[in-house]
């Protein structure tokens, strides 16, 4: 027993916690970007777009393709790395947007008036299709980018934040602020919120449903493209990455309150934190019963607890507040 207590306290240093917080927030920023796509689509269509994770996966392969084309290595100069990464981001955003737009047109739009299970199954079908397509025609191995932008910034004691982590955080926050402005300030964004709040009233005001839905898929998928670039800076990919990353991001969306945009961001960060703190401390906290290999278990335990105790999410949509 005493041994357990020692183990628990020995791991808990302020430096260690701070480092895990940094890791958690950067991971969470990527989850948040993907989660936005789930949440926005759910907001306007009440559909869980299970193919969204695979759009993200395709994005990671676009990034691999672009960076491979320019022969980036760990020793490439910044003057080459930055423009190539920018190009990779633009390419991933554009291709993901086109893919998301097409998936909606082909797999969901014809089923708009069908029972709700039909588009869900169609979404799973699209997901399998994309995975199989990549595995068959592109690759079924793990891929990573070379270690670009190596180096870090010391923060406090021996706590550091890596350049790629700074880039991930800054890019995702810029994207989220941009999205918030788009949804708050533009006419199309207002139309999107109107559809989410009262579809028929939105139609009566002259909102073109089809256009709003297409726009939602394009924006959500482009954000998944950004997430793909950030993901590749720090993690690896293969054809199944969309499933696991997608499921995590979906969890983040549910935690935040699905359909709610700030909620998806908050949920992403919370999930990233839970995962990295959980992975770092569960072994000691449980006297070595659980190991950090249980990282994914925490993410989904979090989902289950959330669904049991607060199914509408942290930032619940106040559905009762109807006008």
């Amino acid at each position: 027993m005493q041994r357990c207590l020692d183990l628990l306290t020995s791991g808990l240093t302020p430096e260690g916690i701070l480092q895990q917080l940094i890791n958690g927030v950067t991971l969470g920023s990527v989850y948040a970007l993907i989660a936005l796509g789930y949440s926005m689509v759910y907001g306007v269509l009440e559909l869980i777009n299970f193919a969204h994770g695979d759009v993200f996966m395709i994005g990671t392969f676009v990034v691999l393709g672009v960076t491979g084309q320019f022969g980036l290595t760990g020793t490439s100069s910044l003057a080459l790395v930055i423009p190539v990464l920018l190009l990779a981001m633009i390419a991933a955003m554009a291709l993901c947007a086109v893919l998301g737009f097409t998936i909606e047109k082909v797999a969901y739009r014809p089923l708009r008036r069908a029972p709700r299970l039909a588009p869900l199954i169609s979404a799973i079908g699209v997901s399998f299709f994309l995975e199989a397509w990549i595995a068959t025609y592109v690759s079924s191995r793990d891929h990573t980018l070379p270690n670009l932008l190596a180096g870090d910034i010391p923060l406090y004691a021996d706590v550091t934040i890596r350049y790629v982590q700074v880039l991930m955080l800054v890019s995702s926050v810029v994207m989220m602020v941009g999205l918030q402005q788009l949804v708050r300030r533009t006419s199309l964004g207002r139309g999107m919120r109107a559809v989410a709040q009262d579809r028929e009233a939105a139609e009566l005001m002259g909102v073109n449903m089809d256009r709003v839905i297409s726009f939602t898929f394009i924006i959500g998928s482009a954000l998944a493209g950004v997430a793909a670039v950030l993901w590749m800076l720090n993690y690896s990919t293969n054809q199944t990455i969309g499933f696991i990353a997608g499921l995590k991001a979906f969890t983040a969306a549910v935690i935040g309150g699905i359909g709610n945009i700030p909620g998806a961001m908050l949920g992403g960060f919370l999930l990233g934190l839970a995962e990295s703190l959980g992975a770092a401390y569960i072994s000691n906290a449980s006297c070595g019963i659980f190991s950090s290999a249980y990282e994914d278990v925490f993410a989904f335990a979090f989902l289950i607890l959330m669904l049991v105790f607060r199914p509408s999410g942290i930032m619940r949509e106040r559905v009762s507040q109807r006008a």
Binding site: R190, R193, D198, E203, L204, G206, Q321
Partner: protein
């Protein structure tokens, strides 16, 4: 203005409209018309088909048969978006505001199909003149307004599309008597400013007093029509709708 309307034929002309929800027939050949500058009311009991009529005219329901001509052009089966752009707008039953948008944003939603910024700003000022309460509350969320304020916002929002014919579905429903008076006087004001009105009401007495003409709808059919005064004096209307 098109030739047909200047020749004195109806601004809105509905002929033989048939609508069903699945197998349940809601409208069995409804015909009615509204001339430019008129207030026309459609009265009838719950479930007679009043809301179905205006929702079909607004383009959120598709008719099985019949024809709708607005300002000389056929709008039958056209999407709501196209109909709003043509100047026919419905303020739906139950207000149907966007509860998590501010008063100001709800009004902007009314102007969704428009791109003339200056015109929108001017109409926003008009709406605030018509409903000073809304100006005080312009940053408040619509879901937090009182029933009367919500109805004012619903009418204001519909006016933001700059309709030439405004359809109002049960604007007085659920309001205190004093507010009912206010709403009917506002309807008169809007009409005086040149907007034609098709008014659906259960409050038959008030509606017939404000309207130039009226139609009585029973189980999906028009059973009686006349000027507001004629209908107020009709024995059948008095017995069925005025509680006399």
């Amino acid at each position: 203005m098109s030739d047909s309307s200047s020749n004195g034929s109806a601004f809105l002309e509905v002929t033989g409209l048939e609508v069903a929800y699945g197998k349940i027939v809601a409208l069995r050949g409804v015909s009615l018309n509204v001339s430019q500058g008129e207030i026309v009311t459609l009265i009838g009991a719950n479930g007679a088909g009043k809301s179905t009529t205006v929702r079909t005219l607004a383009g959120v329901m598709r008719p099985l048969a019949g024809r709708v001509v607005f300002d000389g052009k056929e709008t039958t089966g056209r999407p709501a978006e196209a109909i709003v752009r043509r100047g026919l707008c419905l303020a739906p039953e139950g207000r149907r505001l966007f509860p998590r948008m501010s008063v100001h944003e709800n009004l902007l939603m009314g102007a969704y199909t428009r791109r003339d910024r200056d015109g929108i700003r001017a109409d926003m000022e008009n709406a605030f003149t018509l409903f000073p309460r809304l100006k005080e509350r312009s940053t408040q969320l619509a879901g937090t307004l009182s029933g009367g304020e919500q109805q004012m916002l619903a009418i204001g929002r519909a006016l933001m599309s700059r309709p030439r014919l405004l359809m109002l579905d049960e604007p007085s429903l659920g309001l205190a008597p004093i507010l009912v008076e206010t709403i009917f006087s506002i309807i008169r004001d809007i009409n005086k400013q040149g907007t034609s009105i098709l008014l659906v009401e259960q409050n038959a007495r008030q509606a017939l007093q404000v309207a130039h003409r009226g139609y009585v709808l029973e189980t999906g059919e028009i059973v009686q029509t006349g000027t507001g005064q004629e209908l107020l004096e009709s024995a059948e209307v008095q017995r069925a709708y005025l509680g006399m």
